[in-house]
């Protein structure tokens, strides 16, 4: 096995690429958690709402652990969590706006959460020591997210919701896959350093979990990676979460209570 790697051992461009990766994962988890939390009430059953709420808590806990990795870059994670403008968020575009219906929630589980977990799994197996220490527990919790997403996908696929969930998956997939495996220089640099596997391997990991279920809906998992409008600094396609979402992510309203 390769030697564990700390931030101090990285070149400047590797550090920039690793920081981008951590922010992409942390921001997506923070915002996906918000999207799941919206469905504590209004989910198809009480049990489903409780599960969605619990998944929201998982995502927020994971986000907190990921943001805290930035300490090793000499950054204060609290500032990163509280002070960034929406244009700085590096999340997968599918969570920029709230999910319109339960079909989009399920698409969020299988596409966004699935892609994020594929990326995290490769990160955990790589050389960055904080990732190999902290991520395995997250992956254990994510097994239930995967089961929940796939079970709901099967249910919707066999119901009148089939068309709607297929549409939602088709809408989320391109931007999420380009986010997960952009195939750009930063990704290649991290792969070369042994921090993450190649984008092709990450894509294959995602496909091994969801390929069959998507195939049953006539959806294939393919990506050409980052397009011309890809934002290389953030590692995502164009756009940003809406202002209300970022206010919730930063906790602006909570802190406003304590301002005299």
């Amino acid at each position: 096995m390769s030697e564990p790697l700390s931030v101090d051992a990285l070149t400047d461009s590797q550090r920039t690429a690793l920081r981008r990766l951590i922010l992409r994962l942390a921001d997506t988890k923070r915002l996906l958690g918000i999207r799941f939390s919206d469905w504590l009430l209004g989910a198809p059953s009480i049990e489903t709402g409780i599960a969605a709420s619990s998944m929201a808590q998982d995502e927020w806990g994971h986000a907190r652990l990921l943001y805290s990795m930035l300490k090793s870059f000499g950054e204060d994670p609290v500032e990163v969590e509280r002070d960034r403008a929406r244009e700085a968020y590096a999340n997968a575009p599918a969570v920029d706006h709230e999910f319109a219906d339960w079909a989009e929630v399920v698409a969020g589980m299988v596409v966004v959460d699935g892609a994020m977990t594929a990326l995290l799994a490769g990160f955990a197996e790589g050389r960055f020591e904080l990732a190999s220490n902290r991520i395995p527990k997250m992956l254990g919790e994510e097994e239930f997210h995967r089961d929940m997403g796939l079970a709901w996908l099967r249910s919707l696929a066999g119901s009148a919701g089939r068309g709607r969930v297929t549409e939602a998956i088709r809408a989320f997939l391109p931007g999420t896959l380009a986010w997960m495996a952009p195939g750009d220089d930063a990704e290649a640099e991290l792969a070369e350093a042994g921090v993450i596997p190649s984008g092709a391997e990450t894509l294959e990991r995602f496909r091994s979990v969801y390929g069959e279920a998507f195939q049953a809906l006539g959806v294939s998992i393919e990506t050409s990676g980052a397009g011309d409008d890809f934002d290389a600094a953030r590692g995502r396609g164009p756009g940003a979460p809406d202002e209300e979402t970022v206010e919730r992510a930063r906790g602006d309203r909570n802190r406003a209570l304590f301002v005299e």
């Binding site: 059953s45 049990e47 489903t48 409780i50 599960a51 239930f144 089961d147 796939l150």
Partner: protein, 83 residues
């Protein structure tokens, strides 16, 4: 079965290895896969050593002709007498 037509699954768990498996609650779910997720996510207040779900329809009463499982007796005779 439609998405919303659920079945009742009873949830059993033990805190430590060697503890008795205890009934801790139930969930409504359309299938066993979602029952597993719902049980874990609903009853996760303790760090369980083991958790299991059982379709309530699979629990067959031995000594009672009333209660939540009575319908599963399917005409089998009561044994031992009920208190």
């Amino acid at each position: 079965m439609s998405i919303l037509e659920g079945e009742v699954f009873d949830v059993f768990a033990r805190k430590e290895r060697g503890d008795a498996l205890q009934h801790i609650g139930y969930v409504d779910a359309p299938d066993i896969d979602l029952a597993r997720v719902y049980a874990w996510k609903t009853y996760d207040e303790l760090n369980w050593f083991e958790m299991c779900v059982v379709p309530r329809s699979a629990i067959v009463p031995v000594n009672r002709t009333d209660g939540p499982f009575a319908g599963n007796a399917l005409g089998r005779p009561v044994v031992g007498g009920a208190r």
